[in-house]
């Protein structure tokens, strides 16, 4: 009998060992394989899409945020009575019956019907209780201030994989920060489809996009846009731009260009409107360039405000060209102060020739002409400055009064902000803070680009510009109770190698209060038809906006 017990015992032990071995094999060696199968059977991988970061103005109001929207999709294989379904769905969605019908007739398991549905429409379709229809929840961009600062914001479109991607402006420049990071999670269901636990874990967890807090003042941006659009219509211009900057920090207070587009429906507009003309358009600045050349000559002590031009009594011949003043009025023996006051081209030819080509190129570089300012917007361009050996005498002469040389509006604004800020040039910036999904903020500190001129030269140039405002051709429009420094500009536009006398770029650039500037502003109109001169178009708009800004900042009159 003993051998039977032994035999049974050994059999049980062997069987137990086999089971233990198999358990070890499946639960340790092939554990991951089993988990995968289990997950596929009972678990569902859910993609966790991060919410795109918001873009807020300086008062923390979001001008670009997100709202929940739904994509209606269908499984055509589950939809019965397709015609009736297409009719009922198209009626609720207010869309073409044909497009819904075509989608439902496809031989697929999943077809999109319509994106961007709100909660109301979703509920209306859910109430139809049609099998085979479902909704995907996602976020879409929402603009509470409509098209305010559209050219600054850019827009959100799709990339090649159908994911959200920012284009142009801030959405383009800061796309990675705003996008965040996609994550995934596993949800386990029982046999009846109910979750065993709400969410198992987040693998490579999602990271919400960071928010951008701008230096843009929403109220000033609003009033600038209103006045700009009214003025473009009033002067019959093809377009217009206004930029306002704080010279001490380089922070952009307002930036607007017109015509503009609706970032929510960007696809309905011409692609030409997407780029921000303030940073992407090159133009010959005309007389608004004269302060740059004059301040360079002052800094080099080549001229003083009292220096007199010995040959400004008539047109000047340079390199075979006769160069005139804008109004064919000449002031023999004119001082440098009067040259700026009268916007005298012949006087500026004298200044440019006195400065010399080498110094002219040095100061163009110091003032950042021909280089990107580095403003944090997508699409900035910069002009090419010819090398020294390609300049002719006529080029130097015309550059003296801002023709034959190209700049972007943001470059000119930055140059003027250096004059307003004691000669120190600050890098223009739009974003002042970045806030992550946990509320932690990182400040973007102001950056000094350089010091092209001394404080003394800047002060002298400021007084010349105040005199130009008080006694120049735009004096009729000035604010009599404030000291404002500024310069008009009326630049001819080169068309097919010649300058068209009837088409101009009319502009005005200035800063206020002159003694302690709170803002520098540049106003530009492209081909105004009602009047072609900067003094008659850009200057009144400048002073109108300046009055509102000074009142908004509660700056009391200084005279």
């Amino acid at each position: 009998m003993t051998w039977r017990y032994k035999f049974a015992f050994i059999t049980f032990v062997l069987a137990f060992l086999v089971v233990a071995f198999r358990l070890f094999y499946w639960q340790v060696v092939r554990a991951s394989y089993l988990s995968e199968i289990g997950r596929n059977q009972y678990g569902q991988e859910i993609k966790v899409f991060p919410e795109r970061g918001e873009i807020l103005t300086s008062d923390l109001f979001p001008i670009a945020t997100n709202k929940v929207s739904y994509l209606l999709f269908a499984n055509p294989k589950e939809v019965t009575n397709k015609e009736d379904v297409a009719l009922r769905v198209a009626k609720i969605l207010d869309t073409e019956y044909a497009s819904v019908s075509v989608s439902l007739s496809l031989d697929k398991f999943w077809v999109p019907i319509k994106p961007g549905l709100n909660e109301e429409k979703k509920e209306a379709i859910e109430n139809l209780k049609i099998p085979g229809l479902g909704f995907e929840e996602n976020y879409e961009r929402f603009y509470p201030e409509a098209s305010l600062a559209a050219s600054l914001l850019g827009f959100v479109g799709k990339d090649d994989e159908g994911k959200d991607k920012g284009y142009f402006g801030l959405e383009g420049y800061y796309n990675r920060l705003l996008s965040g990071k996609e994550g995934s999670a596993i949800q386990i269901h029982d046999a009846l489809g109910k979750p065993v636990i709400a969410r198992l874990k987040e693998e490579g967890g999602a990271l919400e996009g960071s928010d951008l807090i701008l230096s843009i003042d929403r109220s000033i941006q609003f009033l600038v846009e209103k006045k700009l659009s009214d003025a473009v219509e009033k002067y019959g211009a093809q377009g217009g731009m206004v930029g306002v900057i704080d010279p001490k920090t380089g922070k952009i207070i307002a930036l607007s260009s017109f015509p503009t587009f609706d970032p929510k429906k960007y696809y309905e507009y011409s692609q030409d409107l997407y780029k921000n003309a303030f940073i992407s358009d090159l133009y010959e600045p005309g007389s608004t360039f004269k302060p740059l050349v004059m301040s360079a000559a002052l800094n080099e002590r080549k001229v003083t405000p009292a220096t007199r031009c010995p040959y400004c009594g008539g047109p000047i011949s340079v390199g075979g060209y006769d160069l005139h003043t804008w109004n064919d009025k000449y002031y023999p023996n004119t001082t440098m102060t009067e040259v700026i006051q009268h916007s005298d081209n012949t006087g500026m030819i004298f200044v440019a020739q006195t400065l010399g080509l080498e110094k002219m190129l040095t100061y163009l570089d110091r003032f950042g002409i021909g280089r990107l300012t580095g403003i944090d917007l997508q699409g900035e361009v910069s002009p090419d400055i010819k090398p020294e050996n390609s300049w002719y005498a006529a080029d130097l002469a015309t550059a003296g009064f801002g023709q034959g040389i190209s700049v972007t509006p943001v470059e000119l604004l930055t140059v003027f902000s250096a004059i307003a800020n004691k000669g120190i040039m600050m890098k223009p910036q739009v974003v002042s803070q970045v806030r992550d999904n946990e509320g932690r903020t990182v400040n973007i500190e102001p950056e000094i680009m350089g010091k092209p001129i001394s404080e003394a030269s800047a002060k002298v140039m400021t007084e010349m510009l105040v005199n130009a405002v008080n006694k120049g051709e735009a004096s009729y429009a000035r604010l009599k109770d404030y000291r404002i420094a500024g310069k008009t500009g009326t630049a001819s536009i080169p068309i097919q190698g010649k300058y068209d006398p009837t088409k101009t770029i009319a502009s005005f650039v200035g800063f206020a209060p002159a003694d302690d500037p709170k803002f520098v502003m540049l106003v530009i109109f492209n081909k105004p038809s009602a009047a072609i001169y900067g003094a008659e178009t850009a200057a009144p708009v400048f002073f109108s906006i300046a009055r509102d800004i000074l009142s908004y900042y509660k700056i009391t009159p200084t005279q």
Partner: protein, 94 residues
């Protein structure tokens, strides 16, 4: 003779015990999923409602909206402004 019986009994009891524990644990966690799912659903509902209210609030407090409402209430754009540069007394002590 006694030892193999004991070992056998031990193995059987261990197996039975593990089966009972497994059943008990599964039973304990299964309703939690339903409760958690309900809480999760409620949380999602309130999140969505907050978002919708936030959207509404931003639309109503936008400058575009305020500007058009202001016009409806009779506010007009300022044409002129003046500044009092000399301090004027409001109340005098006599």
């Amino acid at each position: 003779m006694r030892r193999p019986t004991l070992i056998l009994a031990f193995l059987i009891l261990t197996a039975v015990g593990l089966i009972v524990v497994r059943a008990a644990v599964s039973n304990a966690i299964s309703p939690n999923g339903t409760v958690l799912a309900k809480i999760s659903e409620e949380r999602e509902f309130y999140k969505k409602e907050n978002k919708a209210l936030r959207e509404d609030l931003f639309a109503k407090t936008s400058l575009n909206s305020i500007s058009s409402e202001a016009a409806r209430f009779g506010f007009v754009e300022r044409k002129n402004s003046f500044v009092l540069t000399k301090p004027l007394p409001i109340a005098l002590k006599r």
